[in-house]
């Protein structure tokens, strides 16, 4: 299936959970926050939240800013 990850097309195996995506991106254990179709998904729900074709996913982190 294909999702929109941070505004770009991203391929993922069918039935993948958010935690699978995080692992694929190499962010496991990192300080990130995830939004799925404009809703924040708390970290504790990443393993149980299934992604679907066409989902809009945002993965954010903190960077330098004033």
């Amino acid at each position: 299936m294909q999702i929109q990850l941070n505004g770009e097309a991203h391929c993922l195996q069918d039935g993948a959970h958010i935690s699978d995506l995080i692992e694929q991106l190499g962010f496991t254990g990192k300080r990130i926050a995830v939004e799925l179709n404009m809703e924040i998904i708390p970290r504790s729900e990443h393993p149980s939240t299934t992604l679907n074709d066409g989902d809009q996913v945002e993965v954010v982190h903190a960077i330098g800013g004033g």
């Binding site: 924040i40 708390p42 993965v59 903190a62 330098g64 800013g65 004033g66």
Partner: protein, 263 residues
């Protein structure tokens, strides 16, 4: 000095010894960021929230590993947001990112050239965020009426600009900042515009509760040294404010006694 020992900056019920708040943008690398923040003595440190494909190479340490939430109060900002909706969304992501931490710096910008705050959108965002349980430190223009409204809406600190973000022009309208402070019941901090140490000292001498800056340190020739200069400027400005300056006089007043001169 006894007065200063109890002179904490209190924001949303938490006490801070440092009245200098610093940003983490525009540094050469994370190492310089960490050293500058250390030298500044700041306890509240702002960060931006961005997509993970922006601003990070794989394997590079994360900003929050250098500026640890265990050591600093992290103040996520909404920089880059031009609408209330985007700012609220960013704050909610920041809260998730920081494990439920509620303190945010709200800034909703008007245009890219001036980065001047859009106060209509800022007020809309404030309303939602306060209702949603956020402790909002709000970046705003130096309009005393708007500043009062933001306080009444429940902001925990009101932060008028000294001058445009990143301009280094100093405090262009000290009179307005004074009017804002006169009736304020929450801390008033100057946010944006400080260019060098004297600008920070002036803000503190006027009675501001603190100063938030980024570019003045990060864009200095030697950011670490400037961070140290800013720390001292904030402290000396605060002490001068507490000490109470002498009145301004039109004519001279001799410091040495007139009696006993040999002429």
């Amino acid at each position: 000095m006894s007065q200063l020992q109890n002179d904490a900056l209190v924001i949303a019920g938490k006490s801070y010894n440092s009245r200098l708040l610093v940003g983490t943008g525009k540094y050469k690398d994370l190492e310089e960021t960490g050293r500058a923040i250390e030298a500044s003595g700041a306890e509240i440190v702002t960060v931006a929230v961005r997509r993970t494909n922006i601003g990070q190479n794989p394997g590079e340490p994360n900003l929050l590993e250098v500026v640890s939430p265990d050591k600093y109060t992290i103040l996520p900002n909404t920089a880059g947001c031009y609408t209330a909706d985007d700012a609220v969304r960013t704050c909610r992501l920041a809260r998730e990112l920081l494990d439920g931490h509620n303190l945010v710096k709200l800034e909703v910008l008007g245009d890219q050239k001036t980065l001047y705050p859009n106060m209509v959108e800022t007020i809309k965002a404030t309303e939602t965020l306060v209702k949603d349980g956020f402790d909002v430190m709000v970046y705003c223009n130096d309009d005393p009426i708007v500043a009062k409204q933001l306080e009444e809406m429940g902001c925990v600190a009101v932060m008028p600009l000294g001058s445009l973000i990143g301009s280094g022009l100093g405090i262009l309208n000290p009179h307005n900042i004074r009017i804002i402070m006169e009736s304020a019941n929450v801390p008033i901090l100057v946010d944006a515009g400080v260019g060098t140490a004297s600008d920070a000292a002036i803000a503190m001498e006027m009675g501001c509760e603190g100063v938030l800056m980024n570019t003045a340190i990060a864009a200095a020739g030697d950011p670490i040294l400037m961070a140290s200069a800013m720390k001292k400027a904030i402290e000396s400005g605060r002490e001068a404010f507490l000490a109470g300056r002498m009145p301004r006089k039109k004519y001279a007043s001799a410091s040495s006694p007139m009696e006993g001169t040999i002429v």
